[in-house]
């Protein structure tokens, strides 16, 4: 038994029933001890990865509340049941800060109350929806038009001599996704930033429940368009863990190939965009050129610029041949050379360095408190990388390590990306030279009724988690999607405090979180 599971068993004894058949191990605790379980795990240095609720009223079990924790490579899920008439659970906010938004979301979309949560405002749900419309409940009919009523969002305010408020968005001057940011500032110094997201809420989690297991992978690939490969892989792996489907080795290597290409393309694009926010447009155009070259190659070799729908349950849909292999290798040489030249320019531009160093610092302590993941975490001294801690082949055999810096500023987030691009290039080379033969897909059986599946995959933004649950007739009963943005957006609010207003865009770009993946 691993560390977290041991700690929970020791503290709870017979109160925590482990379901050892499932991976990760799922403990069921009495609902009134739900927060105690979190406290116990916190004392064992666990991170909170995700928190979600299920509606099991159709099978007469009321509602379920789940929390997923991680420590190193160990994941653990704690669940509790709530009665149908009184669905409430003790809030985890006191122990884990990210629960702040998870629980607001649970209350807004599932109508389950976190007792002791300090903030009763809705999250993602719009304020002009009727009080009792909870889209994730089974009784909610998604095909009907939502009734609207008057509603106002209660913003946090600040008062005092010289304090003023800057509302930005949701419609921005540039072509980016919608999100509202409200700054309280004194002069140019930001004393508080409040985010308001949810403008691209599409009801994706609800939509999953009306799809079949095979078609749902397409939806997973569209949760956040720029991370389509990682999301598809995470969904497929969660499904494969439910059905004990053994994916051929070559397909897994191929998935890693897609994943790393997606990572390189997006990281290069990010680096250019970050520099552009310091008005260093040269980097933007040069990085865009490299990114475009990769996307064009993707289109030529795999039939889609972003490799959408190339990963399916049981394998992948496209194979690479010898000429494709050669093409990727020669493209890597060209990318490598051009990219390193750009990195040298980045390093040697002192005016750029002045902007990125010391800006938007997310300290290690804060990053740990906020349980951030991905590039943001690794730039703040937190060693999390699913490819290292929970590898699927070929990551278990090609020897990679997490790239961790401690500064936590914009430069650190750029530099983690730079180092990861170089690492991903060498991963791609090893994949291409050592890729085993064999089939690229197998047929997977449908999941049995009433089972769950779980997967965590390192997308380019960070750890993506899928948790699937089948219903009584084997249909999709619940599909929980946890994009890295769901936790990292909160960190941006904290990192920006004390910075000046004109430095917000560059900080925001260095986080570059997905609105779509967060709003679902």
């Amino acid at each position: 038994m691993k560390r977290l599971a041991k700690a929970l068993s020791a503290a709870f004894g017979a109160d925590a029933k482990a379901d050892g058949h499932r991976e990760p191990v799922t403990f069921t605790v009495p609902v009134e001890r739900f927060a105690d379980a979190a406290k116990t795990l916190k004392e064992s240095y666990a991170f909170l990865c995700a928190q979600w609720a299920t509606d099991d009223t159709n099978s007469d079990r009321g509602y379920g509340i789940y929390a997923c924790f991680r420590h190193g490579s160990e994941y653990i899920i704690v669940r509790a049941s709530m009665s149908r008439d009184n669905p409430e659970f003790p809030s985890l906010v006191k122990h884990f800060v990210p629960a702040y938004r998870f629980e607001r979301q649970i209350r807004s979309l599932m109508g389950v109350t976190p007792v002791g949560h300090p903030d009763e405002r809705p999250w993602i749900k719009f304020e002009d929806w009727p009080e009792d419309s909870w889209p994730l409940r089974k009784s909610f009919d998604a095909s009907k038009r939502m009734a609207r009523h008057e509603g106002q969002y209660a913003w946090l305010g600040a008062e005092g001599e010289g304090v003023y408020e800057i509302p930005v968005g949701p419609v921005h001057a540039g072509i980016i996704e919608p999100g509202h940011f409200r700054f309280q500032a004194v002069g140019e110094t930001i004393i508080n930033l409040e985010e308001r997201l949810g403008y691209v809420h599409k009801g994706i989690e609800k939509r999953f429940e009306s799809m079949t297991w095979e078609t749902a992978v397409k939806l997973a690939g569209r949760v956040s368009g720029d991370t389509t490969v990682a999301h598809s892989i995470a969904y497929c792996m969660a499904l494969e863990s439910m059905t004990h489907c053994h994916v051929p080795v070559r397909a897994q290597w191929q998935r890693a190939l897609f994943l790393e290409r997606e990572r390189i393309a997006n990281h290069i694009g990010d680096i250019g965009a970050i520099c552009n926010d310091a008005a260093f447009a040269f980097m933007l155009y040069q990085c865009s050129r490299l990114k475009e070259a990769m996307l064009a190659t993707n289109h030529r070799l795999f039939g889609h610029r972003f490799m959408m729908d190339k990963v399916i349950p049981g394998g992948v849909t496209v194979d690479i041949d010898v000429t494709a292999k050669k093409e990727i290798l020669s493209e890597l040489d060209f990318l490598d050379e051009d990219f390193n030249r750009l990195v040298r320019i980045y390093e040697e531009s002192s005016s750029l360095e002045d902007r990125v160093r010391g800006t938007g610092i997310l300290t290690s302590e804060l990053a740990r408190e906020l349980c951030v993941v991905g590039v943001v975490a690794r730039a703040s001294g937190i060693n999390v990388d699913c490819r290292v801690h929970n590898p699927f082949p070929p990551y278990d055999s090609i020897g990679i390590e997490a790239q961790v810096l401690i500064a936590g500023d914009v430069h650190a987030r750029v530099w983690v990306r730079v180092v990861e691009i170089r690492a991903s290039m060498s991963i791609l080379r090893s994949i291409l030279t050592k890729m085993p033969g064999g089939p690229i897909a197998v047929e997977c059986s449908a999941p049995l009724p009433d089972t769950t599946g779980f997967a965590a995959v390192e997308g380019w933004r960070g750890e993506i988690i899928y948790w699937l649950q089948s219903g009584q007739i084997g249909q999709i009963n619940r599909c929980m999607v946890r994009d890295p943005s769901s936790v990292n957006w909160l960190a941006l609010e904290q990192a920006i405090k004390g910075n000046i207003v004109p430095d917000f865009p560059i900080c925001n770009k260095s986080f570059n979180q997905s609105y779509s993946g967060h709003d679902l």
Partner: protein, 315 residues
């Protein structure tokens, strides 16, 4: 007959200023594209932008006062007025004696004052933010630009642009330490005054980082066209002002067609070169953090002051 001739030259100059300014802005943008490794939209792109804005409707905020509606005309008009007194193609400019260089700066300052008022007029957060930033920059650039001009006028023994340019071309002024200091200060100030990198980014879409653009964020249609055009003229004039003060060689002293043609030829070459210098600065630098601007502009002020001191000590 003589005065008719002068009026003709004056009108010619005003037309040239209004007509050529967008081409100069286009030239700078074109060079910028090239240095970034892109193909450019060409020198004519600013004309197309202006034409496009003129055919679009004006969207006006419900609570906009006369200040908001009046400012675009003031901005454009003030730029044209200054354009009529800076000796660009000829020394015998009809209106040039009516205003010296300090008046020119003051006219620009009043346009800026109204622009800041217009920014705050609508009551949006960005307008106020941009206005406050613009005023901060202005409070630092204006002393520096005046100091730089004092140095030149000390050397030229007049604040009149005509006198300064004449004494330069007549060889009374050679390249001296005070003038070099003043020229450096003037270059730094022009970058700040015209809202270019590393002070401001004219092509940004990021509302929160804007200075000049934040003030005019609510403008549209012909209002925006006039402000943009006015800004292009302002940019062009600052560059020609610098050329008139620091590189006046080649300007027509007598008003015959041949001399004016030569003067226009030299002007084009000088503009192309100065545009190139600005672009190299812009491409090679990232935008400064807002509060670093004080250091940048103090450096300009220091340079200008050194110019004045150098004049008295060394010359």
């Amino acid at each position: 007959m003589k005065s008719l001739h002068l009026i003709f030259i004056e009108i010619l100059q005003v037309i040239i200023v209004i007509a050529v300014a967008p081409a100069f802005a286009g030239w700078v943008d074109m060079l910028k594209c090239w240095t970034q490794g892109r193909t450019s939209a060409g020198v004519l792109q600013p004309y197309r932008n202006i034409a496009k804005l003129f055919v679009k409707d004006v969207v006006l905020a419900g609570n906009a006062s006369w200040i908001f509606r009046f400012t675009p005309y003031l901005v454009f008009g003030s730029a044209v007025v200054v354009g009529s007194v800076v000796p660009i193609i000829s020394m015998n400019l009809f209106l040039a004696p009516s205003a010296d260089i300090i008046v020119g700066i003051a006219i620009f300052a009043s346009a800026r004052f109204f622009m800041a008022l217009a920014g705050m007029d609508i009551g949006t957060a960005f307008g106020g933010m941009g206005a406050s930033r613009e005023m901060m920059v202005a409070s630092l650039t204006e002393p520096a630009i005046l100091m730089a001009i004092f140095t030149v006028s000390l050397a030229g023994r007049s604040t009149s642009l005509l006198h300064i340019a004449r004494s330069f071309t007549s060889g009374a002024l050679v390249l001296r330490p005070s003038i070099v200091f003043a020229a450096i200060a003037f270059l730094l100030v022009v970058i700040a005054e015209t809202g270019r990198i590393p002070v401001d980014n004219p092509s940004t879409h990021l509302e929160l980082t804007m200075i000049h653009e934040a003030m005019i964020l609510e403008y549209s249609g012909r209002h925006l066209a006039l402000i943009e055009w006015g800004s292009m003229i302002r940019f062009f004039l600052f560059v020609t002002l610098g050329i008139a003060c620091f590189l006046p060689w080649g300007i027509a002293v007598k008003d015959n067609v041949g001399d004016i043609a030569i003067s226009v030829f030299f002007m084009v070459i000088k503009l192309c070169v100065v545009g190139g210098v600005l672009v190299i600065i812009e491409t090679g630098l990232a935008k400064m953090r807002l509060f670093r601007l004080t250091e940048f502009l103090w450096a300009a002020f220091l340079m200008a002051t050194l110019g004045v001191i150098a004049f008295f000590i060394l010359e």
